[in-house]
Symmetry: C2
Amino acid sequence: MNNKEFTSELSRRLGYTIKDTSELIASLLSDMTQQLQEGNVISVQGFGTFEVKKKAERITINPTTKLRMLIPPKLVLNYRPSSALKDKFK
Amino acid sequence: MNNKEFTSELSRRLGYTIKDTSELIASLLSDMTQQLQEGNVISVQGFGTFEVKKKAERITINPTTKLRMLIPPKLVLNYRPSSALKDKFK
């Protein structure tokens, strides 16, 4: 199910044109992205939770040169499926 | 942003009632779940990709009893953010 199929499925359900549906998705996603950037968690019932987590900085050692490197902390978007959804794939 | 806030934000954008919006989300999610169960990948532009992946079976050894245990293969729902979205959290 690629992006086009997803959009057309949603437009069929909404009774919207493809264009309006695309705009809706884009506007909803930009809103979700902003929420996530502000550090808020987004949870959708029956689907799961999106959260931006900070990965701690860490030190690696290059096995060839033996040089220590500091990997800086970074932010990653994390998704955790709801337990109801997880159970469906058992 | 909990489920209620997500639904009310979406209903505001759609001009739908909360009830209709909840039903829309539920119906869309059940459709997405079915797609995933059939092994299909779902990609949403600017957001990312959902895919059910098979984790291979593996053998673990209980450190106390030294007993070998076979962990059976399992299916897990995997989400990979799009690179555009990843960049927003740098």
